[in-house]
Each structure stands twice: as C-alpha cells, then as structure tokens.
C-alpha cells in the first residue's frame, strides 16, 4: 500500500519541535509541556486512575491475579506475582484514521 511508506519514529523531541513551530513557545518550554502531559498521565495511572482522552483513546488499568508461569528454557514452574498492567484502547476516531492510513 502506498500510504505504508516507511516513516521514522516520533519522539518527545519531535513533539516539542511541532509545539515550538506552531505555538511559538521556546524549545525548552515546548519540551517541558510534553514532559508535563506525560507526567500528568503517568501520575493518574500510578494513582490507580484510568486516563481517557476523547478523540484519541483510553489507558485502562487491569489487575492480574497470581498465576503459574514456566521458564520456557528450563521448564521450571515459577509463580507470576499479582500485578497491575495498563492497556490502551484507541478511540473510534483513531482506529478509523489508522485503518484509512491518513
């Protein structure tokens, strides 16, 4: 498919660069806004709150109970401790954009 051209990986620096260009904030200020957004989301999640960004998607916490795993190399059974994990569910808008490739 044409729209599957290879594009690079987007990073914090790229996000800051776009904020700098579109908003006229300094580079430092732009990077600090990127960090703040991520930190706010991290903080809410580590406080046990789901994060829902309309038009983008939801980060949902799930609590996993203990289960027995196996070391695939040695076959030895080891308990996998109960833990909290986060999953991402893209919004319909995001899913539509990705499916359409634009």
């Amino acid at each position: 498919m044409d729209n599957m051209r290879s594009v690079g990986t987007l990073t914090r620096a790229d996000l800051a660069e776009t904020i700098n260009r579109k908003m006229g904030f300094s580079r430092a200020e732009s990077l600090s806004m990127v960090e703040s957004i991520l930190e706010k989301m991290c903080q809410a999640l580590s406080d046990g709150e789901n994060v829902k960004i309309s038009g983008f998607g939801s980060f949902v916490l799930r609590d996993k109970t203990e289960r027995i795993g196996r070391n695939p190399k040695t076959g030895v059974e080891v308990p996998i401790t109960p833990r909290r994990v986060m999953t991402f569910r893209g919004s319909q808008k995001l899913k539509d954009r990705i499916a359409a490739g634009s």
Binding site: N3, M4, R5, S6, V7, G8, T9, L10, T11, R12, D14, L15, T18, I19, K22, M23, F25, M33, V34, S36, I37, L38, K40, M41, C42, A44, L45, S46, E49, N50, V51, K52, I53, S54, G55, F56, G57, F59, L61, R83, R84, V85, M86, T87, F88, G90, K93, L94, K95, R97, I98, A99, A100, G101, S102
Partner: protein, 93 residues
Amino acid sequence: MIRSELLQSLADDNPELRPEEIEQVVDIFFDEISTRLAEGGRVELRGFGAFSTRQRDGRTGRNPRTGASVEVPPKRVPYFKPGKEMRERLNTN
C-alpha cells in the same frame, strides 16, 4: 482522568499560559501521535511507552443481532506497549 481534567491540571501548573494555548498544545500532542500512526510510523515515549500499529487479517464475522455473516477486511489497528518505568510505577504503592 479525562481530557478536561488534564487541561485543568496543566493550567494550574502554568498560570502564565492562556487556557486556549494549553488546549492547543494538548491537541498538537495527540494529533501528532495519531498522524504518525496513521502514516504507518511508530511513536516512542521513553518511560511512558511506545505506540505502533499492527496488521489484522481479514476474517468472516457475524452480526451478533441477526447472525448474518459479514466479511471483515484486513486492516491496521493501534497498539501500545507500556515502557519499563511505567510498568514499575503501576506496581509501587
């Protein structure tokens, strides 16, 4: 936390910025990520996690209400893998 709470929290920390500016910054942030994924690229935010897309094969699905079978075409879907630091933070406290 929902989008409006994120905006409010950022506004509280950045009294020098107008609420509209904060909203524009947050929109740019999520739009840029969405656009890169739509273009088939990846987004890597160290510590938080990485967004990418995965190919789903087409399949024959069923309308759960009518039972009629429908062809679901192959498509790309969003995927997120939490970063190591994020996974650890979820499990401390």
